[in-house]
């Protein structure tokens, strides 16, 4: 393979003064995707690491692989029931899931490249992760055109309108999901959307949280919750696979362990509190607090969404507060809000909005502390 030579050969056309100068950003985007660029940041106060953003994004995508593979398998398993081979499940799932991935990446990257050429900046890398996250958090039966509309909305309004990668206030993948939920509620919630062809094939597609929302204690075993043998969004069901991804992210130092831990602590304490209060009319009060961590999108959100470095709080103390409040609000919404069975998405979006405020006050309190210290030294 002489791809490198080929790229070097056509490169001058895309540089300043070349024939296709206008498309330079798109070319640059593809080149740096294929090869590590030889010009990484060398000096300046903003230096953090020798890795460039594209490598970071690729590591997150790798961390998503276990959950994705399990999710694809689970699509088949949920539809066909027991007794089929791994490949039967997997190919059934892949036929359903791959079109969603293709639409998500195709449209999202298309818009990103168009923006880069139009605005003359280099292509933003952030979409590598967002493009996979979006199909992973959608119900498998969502019509593809609805997915397409949501992707366009998330990229244009959720991200490019704010200035592209690194400037967005809200997590773009969650913007896509929130948009789809409010726009096409019938396709995004309920008991029939979480398993492929649930209505036609007569399969029950009720999620644990869906059952609880209907005031019925579900009979899903704890082992099934942990392993992920239950209906749900494609990527969210298997806590085990998400934990493998989380271990990988923490080992490489990409995601913040403080946010993950704080989210779990916040959710556990809130769950404990509601368990202690108890209720006779709302069964969710009695759902064991630790099982909240295993069902719905909690684990997926805590590991892959809340830790998004762009939209999370930046300060160390801020990360603790930010994560803790995500956990608190997620469980609070689950238990107390009857219209939303799952609260993780709303909790993360809400705290995305508040993250800059949290950082502001953390920094301010630090400044005040230092001022007081200075006064003491002077006096």
């Amino acid at each position: 393979m002489d791809l490198r030579k080929q790229i070097d050969k056509i490169k001058p056309h895309f540089e300043k003064g070349g024939k296709y100068e206008k498309y330079g950003p798109a070319f640059d985007g593809i080149e740096t995707f294929l090869y590590v660029p030889n010009h990484t940041t060398k000096k300046g106060a903003h230096i953090r690491d020798g890795v460039d953003l594209k490598r970071v994004m690729m590591i997150v995508v790798l961390a998503l692989v276990p959950a994705t593979i399990f999710g694809i398998w689970n699509i088949g398993f949920q539809n066909m029931g027991e007794g089929q081979s791994f490949w039967a499940y997997f190919s059934f799932g892949a036929i359903r899931f791959l079109p969603m991935v293709i639409i998500s990446y195709g449209l999202g990257l298309g818009i990103e490249f168009a923006y880069a050429i139009f605005r003359g900046h280099s292509v933003n890398e952030g979409y590598l992760v967002t493009g996979l996250l979006i199909p992973l958090i959608m119900p498998i039966d969502l019509p593809l055109w609805m997915l397409a509309v949501s992707v366009v909305f998330a990229v244009v309004i959720g991200k490019e309108a704010f200035g592209g990668t690194g400037m967005n206030i809200l997590n773009p993948a969650l913007v896509a999901r929130a948009f789809a939920l409010f726009s096409y509620a019938a396709y995004m919630s309920g008991n029939t959307v979480w398993v492929a062809d649930a209505v036609a094939d007569g399969v029950s597609g009720e999620t644990v949280l869906g059952a609880l929302g209907g005031n019925i204690m579900p009979n899903t075993s704890v082992m099934d919750m942990f392993m992920g043998y239950m209906p749900g969004s494609v990527g969210e069901t298997s806590v085990l696979m998400i934990l493998i991804g989380a271990a990988f992210l923490l080992f490489t130092g990409i995601a913040s362990w403080r946010i993950m831990l704080a989210t779990v602590i916040g959710a556990s304490l809130t769950g404990l509190l509601f368990n202690a209060i108890g209720s006779e009319t709302n069964i969710l009060f009695n759902f064991p607090w630790w099982q909240h961590l295993l069902v719905g999108g909690f684990a997926f959100g805590a590991v892959f969404m809340a830790t998004d470095p762009v939209t999370a709080a930046q300060t160390t103390k801020g990360k603790w507060i930010y994560g803790f409040l995500i956990g608190v609000f997620a469980i609070l919404i689950r238990i107390v809000n009857p219209t939303l069975p799952e609260g993780m998405m709303m909790a993360i979006l809400l705290m995305n909005v508040f993250a800059p405020t949290i950082d502001h006050y953390v920094i301010k309190s630090n400044v005040n502390k230092r001022k007081k210290r200075l006064q003491k030294v002077k006096a």
Binding site: W145, V149, I157, F179, Y184, A185
Partner: protein, 223 residues
């Protein structure tokens, strides 16, 4: 008296009429009157009625305040302006209740809230108190048209995408209980966008209009 020498539709007077349509639009440039733009743009019909109501109130309050401008003591001018606007709004409200009861019910408090529409008080304070009646009338028409134009554009998209209708007519086809019972686009699996019916989407729609407007209109590009 320089005013009388000026032609009725001189360049300056025409600018009073056309400026608020684009360069100085009350909604997209001055960002006034947003609450009503969010609240009553779910359907086209209430938006049109609201635009006409604001047009009436703004033109006549501008005219009346402009005629009275040399008699109003400046300390109590806000009260006088409010009195004029409130009387006109009550007039509109009663007419709507008598002749268009359904729309009046849909608009509910927002007819009464025309009194607090910042565009009206803003024009009275900034224009009618300092200019003659003819110019004030033109200014009123221009600003109300600029307001109504944006209102109708937002309502057009919200009703079309949110309920698949325009002025109540099902122009995208009829949506039955099943796909077989549906016609038009709905037969192909199209669904209405429920988000369009919620106010956040109105804000986003106004935002998109501002975005497009500012990138097209060179006078508005900030550096």
């Amino acid at each position: 008296m320089s005013e009388e020498k000026e032609a009725l539709f001189s360049k300056n007077n025409r600018a009073l009429l056309t400026d608020p349509l684009s360069d100085n639009n009350p909604i997209t440039v001055q960002v006034l009157g947003i609450c009503s733009a969010l609240a009553i743009t779910v359907q086209l019909k209430p938006a049109i009625v609201m635009s006409i109501a604001v047009l009436f109130v703004l033109v006549f309050s501008n005219l009346i305040v402009s005629l009275l401008r040399n008699m109003i003591p400046s300390r109590i001018r806000i009260i006088v302006q409010l009195l004029v606007v409130a009387s006109l709004v009550i007039l509109v409200d009663q007419v709507l209740k008598a002749y268009a009861y359904d729309v009046s019910k849909e608009l509910s408090v927002f007819v009464g809230l025309i009194i607090t529409n910042c565009i009206i008080m803003g024009r009275l304070e900034a224009f009618a108190l300092a200019n003659g009646p003819w110019k004030s009338v033109l200014d009123g028409i221009g600003n109300a048209a600029g307001y109504g134009f944006i209102l109708i554009v937002v309502a057009f998209f919200r009703e079309l995408l949110g309920s698949g209708k325009l002025l109540g007519y099902e122009i995208l086809g009829h949506k039955g209980k099943t796909i077989a019972e549906s016609t038009g686009l709905y037969q192909l699996g199209y669904e209405n966008n429920g988000f369009m019916l919620l106010s956040p989407m109105a804000l986003i729609t106004v935002g998109i209009i501002i975005w497009v407007h500012r990138s097209k209109n060179r006078k508005l590009i900030e550096n």
